[in-house]
């Protein structure tokens, strides 16, 4: 197991390096001019030149990349133009809200996904399967920001069960505040994960050992409990892992709708403030978050399924 974890950690290095390269070239090589955008109509040619020098945009590309890499390796991730602070200190301030939201929505997605996928797979092509498929096809097509607004009106204003925005303090209040936003993200995630897990379970149901278990005269309930469910739970780990990036992307919009003090709302604020170093730093942070969560799910998956780590 240790070898597996070590192997995965070593594989991480080139990916992280690639992330810095991709982020740099996507955001710098584009024709946009952050200094002009930042100053807007106020900027004369001198101010623009000064801002370019401040952001290091007057340097040759390779030097800009070296400086950028230096900012990342030093841990500061650059300095925010708007806040005048290192990007990392703002990231650390806003990270908890996003992690809470990701964890909570993942938990809700698991609770929705596993039973519905099982039900759907067992009743394949019959009414329950078609119903689940239909409901979640519609749910997938619902814009999350719109669903968020609708749920606020229904469950926070008409029937005041939940707060309309904010983050709360203490475990209970926090979960209470995050329920609506987490639920919205979870519905969108579940509409993708239920489908993947359903086909995973169908594979298990069609496999030889399940046929054998049935042939031996095991009752359906026992076959499900002993042979199908554990494997379904294991594959749900990888199915959810594959959608991490989707969940994290979803937080950007949802945090803005619910005014949550997370990385996503900071990201959108930075875009409007034209805080270029912040945009860059946050893009890296989001990608690293995805990579780390994927790593964690891969390790969890390997722990649960010996076939993976011995591969």
């Amino acid at each position: 197991m240790l070898t597996y974890i070590l192997k995965r950690l070593i594989q991480l290095v080139p990916v992280l390096f690639g992330i810095t390269l991709a982020c740099f070239f996507l955001l710098r090589a584009l024709p946009g001019d952050p200094a002009t955008l930042l100053l807007g109509a106020r900027g004369g040619p001198e101010e623009i030149a000064a801002m370019k020098a401040r952001l290091g945009l007057d340097l040759p590309m390779w030097r800009q990349y070296v400086l950028f890499l230096g900012d990342i390796l030093s841990g500061s991730l650059g300095r925010s133009v708007v806040y005048g602070q290192p990007v990392i200190s703002l990231v650390l301030e806003r990270l908890p809200a996003t992690l809470w939201l990701v964890a909570y929505s993942t938990a809700i997605a698991v609770v929705l996904t596993i039973p519905l996928a099982l039900w759907s797979a067992v009743k394949r092509d019959r009414a329950p399967d078609i119903l689940v498929k239909l409901v979640f096809t519609v749910l997938l097509a619902i814009p999350s920001f719109w669903l968020g607004l609708v749920l606020v009106v229904i469950l926070a204003i008409w029937v005041p069960l939940f707060p309309t925005s904010g983050y709360g303090t203490g475990l209970f209040s926090r979960l209470h505040h995050l329920t609506l936003p987490a639920f919205v993200i979870a519905l969108a995630t579940a509409s993708l994960t239920i489908r993947s897990l359903r086909s995973g379970i169908l594979n298990v149901l069609g496999s030889d050992y399940v046929t054998t278990a049935r042939a031996k005269g095991n009752a359906t309930a026992r076959t499900m409990r002993v042979h199908v469910l554990p494997n379904a739970l294991i594959s749900s780990i990888s199915v959810l892992g594959a959608h991490t990036s989707w969940v994290i992307g979803g937080t950007v919009v949802i945090e803005t709708v619910f005014a949550l003090p997370g990385l996503g709302s900071l990201f959108v604020e930075s875009i409007f403030a034209r805080d270029y170093p912040m945009i860059q730093g946050l893009t890296i942070v989001f990608a690293v978050l995805v990579v780390l969560i994927n790593l964690a799910t891969d390790i969890a998956y390997a722990l649960a399924d010996p076939r993976i780590r011995l591969d």
Binding site: L30, V138, G250, I271, L282, T283, V291
Partner: protein
């Protein structure tokens, strides 16, 4: 040969698409009211015989704006899927067919892009370029090709080993001909199916960006923008944000059903 029947899911999707196209097309030549006409004497009116879906905070007719706004969202979503799809299919076919170092480099690039959450990358690019329709195209072109490249490469890897391709090679067909005549027509099927699902996700992404103020800019009628407009009136005038929201869902379901139906219809039997 047995008579081929149209898959029922595909049929429903196509009928819904036809209806959508008719409404959106009609919206370009005729709407119940002028979608841009501001009427301060007539703001926040609930749905009525005169204004089927009510009016917004500037007194503009919501139904007319939903009809007119459809064209922008459909155009942007379709271009934001089709252009990257073509690019991704070409890159994926190249990687799969040439193999070796070219394949390794292309796959490493897609691995890295894969780590970035889709929304984050698109928002970051639009943030650097500035909002607007043209910049949406650039952002989606840079981000959306990845899945198509991965899907097509996987298909090509399988197909190029199949007997009929080997046979074509032994007849002395050129690489270009093998790719164009034998591999691509079969390799693009999963990419086409995926493209339909991708239209659903892209419509959501485009309307999200407009909702955030980073996509289509006012006063263009656009569904995401209309929801952003209606946001502050959710309680007093729910119809402003409800109608465009339902329009997005209808469009998404349409393409999801077509994707689903195509998947069933095109998947090789046996």
């Amino acid at each position: 040969m047995s008579k081929r029947r149209l898959d029922p899911t595909l049929l429903v999707g196509l009928v819904m698409l036809l209806l959508l196209a008719l409404l959106v097309g009609l919206g370009q030549i005729w709407t119940p009211h002028d979608p841009f006409l501001v009427d301060y004497g007539n703001t926040l009116q609930p749905p009525s015989a005169r204004h089927w879906l009510g009016t917004d905070d500037l007194g503009r007719d919501v139904a007319s704006r939903v009809m007119a706004g459809g064209l922008v969202d459909l155009r942007v979503a379709l271009i934001c899927v089709m252009a990257p799809a073509l690019l991704g299919i070409a890159i994926g076919a190249l990687a799969g067919f040439v193999g070796g170092r070219v394949d390794t480099v292309i796959m490493r690039i897609t691995d890295v892009f894969w780590a970035f959450p889709f929304h984050v990358l698109v928002i970051a690019i639009v943030g650097v370029l500035g909002p607007g329709e043209a910049n949406l195209y650039i952002a989606f072109l840079l981000v959306n090709w990845i899945s198509f490249a991965r899907i097509t490469r996987g298909e090509v890897l399988v197909l190029r080993e199949l007997e009929y391709v080997q046979a074509a090679r032994s007849f002395g067909s050129s690489d270009t001909r093998i790719i164009a005549a034998h591999i691509l027509p079969n390799a693009v099927t999963p990419a086409i199916v995926y493209a339909m699902a991708d239209v659903v996700l892209t419509i959501l992404a485009v309307t999200s960006l407009s909702f955030l103020g980073l996509g289509i800019q006012p006063p263009t009628p656009e569904w995401g923008l209309m929801i952003a407009d209606g946001r502050q009136f959710m309680f007093d005038a729910w119809w402003i944000a409800t109608a465009p929201g339902l329009a997005i869902i209808y469009t998404g379901v349409t393409f999801a059903l077509i994707g689903e139906g195509l998947d069933t219809a095109l998947r090789p039997k046996g």
